[in-house]
């Protein structure tokens, strides 16, 4: 079965870039525009991995991660943070919230795919 990824980012350029990179790599990609949208789409999408931005309207990445972890069926779902932020403090917050990994934008498509392959295979 194809690996399904839910990518959450408020920038549509970024969403398109993620989608292109991941679709080309053979993943199924669902997109969401912010944390609220992401959590809304979580059940329907049933992803194998979540990628989320940090700075987003309505519900930011930290809230998104906490929301995912609050669902029993997503307790061990890998969540990658993909952001331009690189501060240690923010990383720690993400970790505490339950993030699996942290990738700093801009991302290299091949590397992103490599990382995902290692988290979901």
């Amino acid at each position: 079965m194809t690996t399904k990824i839910l990518a959450v980012d408020d920038s549509r350029t970024m969403r398109a870039m993620i989608q292109t990179a991941l679709t080309d790599a053979g993943f199924d990609v669902d997109l969401a525009e912010d944390g609220v949208d992401g959590l809304d789409k979580l059940s329907g999408s049933d992803p194998d991995l979540v990628i989320t931005d940090i700075n987003m309207p309505r519900l930011d990445g930290f809230g998104m991660i906490e929301g995912v972890r609050a669902r029993p069926e997503c307790a061990s779902l890998p969540i990658l943070v993909l952001t331009t932020e690189s501060g240690e403090e923010l990383k720690q917050r993400a970790r505490t919230a339950g993030a699996t990994g942290w990738i700093v934008k801009p991302f290299d498509a091949e590397k992103l795919v490599a990382i995902i392959n290692r988290l979901v295979v």
Binding site: M1, D46, P57, F107
Partner: protein
């Protein structure tokens, strides 16, 4: 990539708009906490995208800008006129940088230098003089940005080996060669699994740093009956003979993101003898993986074990936690031509089904027979099938709306006005062809709104309106149709002037009694243009008549409502699909015709008393105190000579776009039904009075009446339809 680049710049436009709206709110003191947040995110997103495209100068500037906004949102800075002014300058320069990057131009170095310096200084002051300006500006320089920071520490190089290769350990018995070894002990806390980590993957990453042996100590694993968190109860000892250049910090990096979620020791040893030989990895695979399937739900496939992909999926499947059997909401890309072919075929199927049903009715078959039931089912199925197929072509109007935001900005700039676009209901789904064909009409309409609708800034202020005009695009589904409306908060239609011009052009007569709405809708009449409104932007009246015919070609209606001083709203109502419509099958002079249900208001069998003769041969129907013109359809389409009376006729009350009505006299009403629309223009060009055709259940062709052309309007009369010579000829084809 160039598509993405285009998309990025389009998004920049939108982000700049958010920023500009926020700035206005700040200036007007209508801002709240979210205003600054939204502004921050806009600049932040521009920076992020700029990073992806290596636009250094944009990155740097956006970064400095973002820092000031960050200070504002964390209350290190207060909004005051100086800051607002600085941010307006920042906005301008940011826009310039975006434009320059879009055109691949380079701005002179001096441009924006002062603003940049001031932004940096502001951040520095806000942060007690230290600031992060230089450091952070460097941080976002291209060099740093290219590097992929990866805190999960997975080694990115190397071939992708299957998990079995890596974890079917031991892979090597370390030789006693005096080489350096790292011995890593690792025991996961349950929380590690809860954060989506999988030790197997960590080990695999470690395995890519050299030769690795893995041993598991399962002594703490509880017996099957009381098993919980089995993987967390396993301690692992990993022995790595590192490749060149791998040191302890590289190893620590792998575990960086699981820090605090496991007990971890890393020690370096130099092997003189065989290194402390881990017991041969005793196939933890089957045992760990198999056990949880029937017991604890959580460990499942996350057990650090060398499952092959299939095994792992089975483990997932057998586990109650993950609903892998549920259908997934996945997407595929399909050639549009294939979809269209499918839609056509389904259309034909619906027709065949109707033909079959009709033939059935003529047979002596009981309605309860198996055949009738089966055919009933076929009808239901083909209906659902048709709906499903149509849904494939549906897409949100968001893309269309977003294109329009740019039109608003550009036309505002050209017209020297400030305006913003508000979008509502962007998620509304419409047939793809419809959205594509709406681009031009909407562009026209928006240019018109900005150019003619919105007043000049000083006039707005004088009228007590905000200087910035608002254009609103709204989409919604309403009773089986899509309604798209465009409104502006401008001055509204100048009815005196419009009427005057229309009279000058001979479109209406001075004695015509026109309602406000009639006057407003004169704007859609061919040849209408108020000459002193010519401008570079919208040209001569911008052919709102063209807009209307485009909309009508889509099976849509367009209507304009205007309130003096308040603004104008143009409403477009479109069918959900172009392929099917609801129609009333009627008979006229032995011909079958279809009248679109959307235009139909009422059907009547009039008494003679309600019909009035006028001197020029026209006849009218009095309904509810108003007089409607009666149009004899058979005569209008050239099927026959005028009738002497309407005694045996049925009348269909129809209403057109303008809200005007007329009564269509027809010989008989057959039934209401869905018809598949077959265009005629390809074969017969445009035929007055006829919109399209359809194929009936009996295989015969019925023409679909263009109701708008059947409604006489002021100055328009009955638009030349009575002669019908053209039609008579066309009719012979059918």
């Amino acid at each position: 990539m160039s598509d993405l680049r285009d998309m990025f710049f389009e998004e920049c436009d939108d982000l700049l708009e958010v920023l500009s709206t926020g700035l206005d709110d700040l200036q007007n003191e209508t801002s709240d906490a979210e205003t600054i947040n939204a502004m921050f995110r806009s600049v932040h997103s521009i920076k992020g995208g700029a990073g992806a495209f290596g636009l250094d100068r944009l990155i740097k500037f956006a970064h400095a800008f973002e820092n000031v906004l960050d200070d504002l949102r964390s209350n290190k800075l207060d909004v005051d006129p100086t800051i607002t002014a600085l941010m307006f300058s920042g906005f301008d320069h940011l826009s310039d940088l975006v434009d320059a990057a879009r055109e691949d131009n380079d701005l002179p170095d001096s441009d924006g230098a002062a603003v940049l310096a001031e932004l940096k200084q502001t951040t520095q002051n806000a942060n007690g003089g230290s600031g992060d300006d230089e450091d952070d500006a460097n941080e976002v320089s291209e060099d740093d940005f290219v590097a992929l920071t990866l805190d999960i520490g997975l080694d990115l190089g190397g071939d992708d080996e299957g998990p079995g290769d890596l974890l079917g350990l031991p892979t090597l018995s370390p030789a006693a060669d005096g080489a350096t070894y790292y011995v890593v002990t690792f025991k996961a806390e349950p929380v590690l699994y809860a954060r989506g980590h999988d030790p197997a993957l960590l080990f695999r990453a470690l395995g890519e740093m050299g030769d690795l042996t893995v041993a598991a100590d399962r002594s703490e694993v509880a017996p099957l009956e009381s098993l919980q968190d089995a993987p967390a109860a396993i301690s692992w000892t990993l022995t790595l003979r590192p490749d060149d250049g791998i040191d302890e910090s590289a190893i620590r990096e792998i575990f960086e993101f699981v820090e605090g979620q496991c007990s971890l020791t890393i020690s370096e040893t130099v092997a003189e003898d065989e290194p402390e030989a881990p017991e041969p990895a005793p196939a933890p695979v089957e045992e760990v993986a198999a056990a949880p399937v029937n017991t604890a739900p959580k460990p499942k496939a996350k057990a650090p074990a060398a499952l092959t992909k299939t095994e792992k999926q089975e483990a997932k499947g057998g586990d109650g936690g993950k609903k892998s059997s549920e259908p997934r909401n996945s997407t595929i890309r399909v050639d549009l031509n294939r979809v269209d072919r499918l839609i056509n075929l389904v259309g034909e199927l619906v027709i065949s089904e109707a033909m079959l049903r009709q033939s059935m009715n003529e047979l002596p078959v009981s309605a309860n027979s198996a055949v009738s039931e089966a055919i009933g089912q076929l009808k239901t199925l083909s209906g659902v099938l048709q709906e499903s197929v149509m849904a494939i072509r549906a897409q949100p109007v968001r893309g269309l709306f977003q294109r329009m935001s740019r039109i608003v900005r550009e036309s505002s700039r050209q017209a020297g006005k400030t305006s913003r676009l508000v979008m509502v209901g962007e998620a509304t789904e419409v047939d793809k062809t419809v959205t594509e064909r709406l681009v031009e009409p909407l562009t026209h309409m928006i240019r018109n709104s900005v150019d003619h609708g919105l007043e000049k800034a000083e006039d707005r202020v004088a009228a007590g309106k905000p200087e910035m005009g608002t254009i609103k695009l709204e989409a919604a589904h309403r009773s089986g149709r899509v309604v798209i409306s465009l409104s502006d908060d401008g001055a509204g239609v100048n009815r005196v002037k419009v009427r005057q011009k229309a009279e000058e052009k001979g479109l209406v007569r001075p004695e015509d009694d026109l309602t406000d709405s009639d006057i407003d809708n004169l704007l859609f009449r061919p040849g209408f243009s108020t000459a002193d409104e010519i401008s570079q932007l919208s040209g001569r009246g911008v052919g709102m008549d063209v807009v209307r015919s485009e909309i009508q070609a889509l099976g849509g209606r367009i209507n304009l409502q205007s309130e003096p001083g308040k603004g104008t709203t143009i409403t477009i109502s479109l069918p959900l699909t172009l392929a099917v419509m609801e129609g009333m099958l009627i008979e006229v002079a032995g011909e079958s015709l279809v009248v679109p249900t959307v235009a139909l208001r009422e059907t009547l069998q009039p008494g003679q008393a309600n019909i009035h003769d006028f001197c020029d041969g026209d006849r009218g129907l009095s309904v509810n105190d108003s007089m409607l013109p009666i149009v004899d359809l058979g005569e209008a389409l050239g099927f026959r000579t005028p009738l002497d009376d309407f005694n045996n006729q049925s009348l269909l009350l129809i209403e057109g776009e303008s809200g005007r009505r007329s009564a269509l006299a027809v010989d008989g009403i057959v039934e209401q039904r869905e018809v598949v629309i077959k265009g005629l223009e390809q074969n017969y060009q445009s035929i007055p009075g006829i919109a399209a055709a359809t194929i009936l259940g009996n295989g015969k062709i019925a023409l679909i009446v263009d109701t708008d052309q059947m409604i006489p309007s002021p100055g328009n009369g009955n638009p030349g339809l009575r002669k019908g010579s053209e039609l008579a000829e066309v009719n012979s084809y059918v």
